[in-house]
Amino acid sequence: MAARSLLIRKTLATVLRRDSAALGAPAAAHSRGLHTFTLPDLSYDYGALEPAISGEIMELHHKKHHQTYVTNYNKALEQLHDALPKGDASTIVKLQSAIKFNGGGHINHSIFWKNLAPVREGGGEPPKGSLGWAIDEHFGSFEKLVQKVNAEGAALQGSGWVWLGLDKELKRLVVETTANQDPLVTKGPGLVPLLGIDVWEHAYYLQYKNVRPDYLKNIWKVINWKYASEVYDNESS
């Protein structure tokens, strides 16, 4: 009886190792001590941000685009996990762009979903408290901040993100853009993202076509300033 269960366990381990793709990478990865990233759930329905962002876009964006970043990030990390103990230098270097792109995509979108909220849950309400005062201090007014973010977002060539960030070292707010899926930290190690707006075409094209400025004008109606304020309070103390 014990021998049989031993045999089953051994077979299972072999199967897990060999067929990780078929059984599900998470199972195999966990058995080797590698963290597997998963697609975070939204705290609202796909249609809850309409009419600012259509349900069709939200579903594709979350279920397809973000999921692809997660899947490919895990794949790249697994390959890195294999290459590191072997000292396979060229593979390790080759994987960097896939890690940056897919990992960045996962990081950025995870923040993005928290930056959005339905109107009935406070989406669109301007920030109060310390973040509100900081915005007035650094940009003159909330409207001026919106103007700046919209201008930078519209002018971004190609794909990327526009951010409101906190520079922890210089203790001030900044508006920054990053290309492709580069996270904000690539613009400065002391930068903390408070609010990110995805200006890749997949974020707005089905609804706004090429009129990115309209997307930027409307997204403020569903921005979740509660989350941004929380992050600001935590990081600036």
């Binding site: 190609g158 794909s159 990327g160 075409e201 997949h202 094209y205 089905l206």
Partner: protein
């Protein structure tokens, strides 16, 4: 490519180079899109095959037509962010100012598949003659294919590419390169005639020999 972009911004003050780069972006995108429209044949009339000459070079540089199609599709699928993928004829010139490849042969002229980000076009890099392009900005396929970029690429390769146009661009590229080679040869002979070793100034050093005139 990075070097050339750096030149634009380092040699000009910011208030000149920034608007210049914006204008350049739009100029490039106009060129790219014109080139793209002309690369396609409407109503499923595309597809077809390259000319015999072009096919010979494709077989040499990619192993086979299928090899080329695979490489083109893979490049298009793996370009991160916005950009374009190009099938181009690359001249054998060295990527250095006035340097002429001293041992140039037809073998050095290659067909290549290259990716470029955003609005970048291989013409900027010099010595590339684009033959075919596919737009892989999301706006090019999102309404019809959403996130399914591979389906868009396959549809483009199977049904839309106008090989007539690609073939004629190839002929033009070859002709242009030949013409430039003749020009180079003519200039080189002119230089030689103008300036023999006997008439060289004292202590002249000839870059391609060890001869120092006495």
């Amino acid at each position: 490519m990075q070097h050339r972009h750096a030149c634009f911004s380092l040699q000009c003050p910011y208030w000149v180079s920034k608007p210049f780069l914006v204008i350049l972006f739009y100029l490039l995108q106009v060129w790219n899109h014109d080139f793209f429209w002309e690369s396609m044949k409407p109503r499923g009339g595309g597809g077809g095959k390259p000319s015999e000459d072009l096919l010979k070079l494709i077989d040499r540089d990619f192993g086979s037509f299928e090899g080329f199609v695979n490489e083109f599709k893979t490049a298009a699928q793996t370009q991160f962010g916005s950009g374009w993928v190009w099938f181009a004829y690359k001249d054998s010139r060295l990527d250095v100012g006035n340097a002429v490849n001293p041992l140039r042969s037809d073998e050095d002229k290659k067909l290549v598949v290259v990716k470029s980000p955003n609005a970048v076009n291989p013409l900027i890099w010099g010595y590339y003659y684009p033959l075919l392009t596919i737009d892989i900005w999301e706006h090019a396929y999102y309404i019809d294919f959403q996130n399914r970029r591979p389906d868009y690429i396959s549809m483009f390769m199977d049904k839309l590419v106008s090989w007539e146009v690609v073939n004629s661009r190839f002929e033009n590229a070859k002709a242009t390169v030949e013409q430039m080679e003749c020009e180079d040869e003519r200039k080189r002979r002119q230089e030689e005639e103008r300036f023999t070793i006997d008439e060289a100034p004292a202590n002249a050093v000839f870059p391609d020999t060890d001869i120092v005139s006495e």
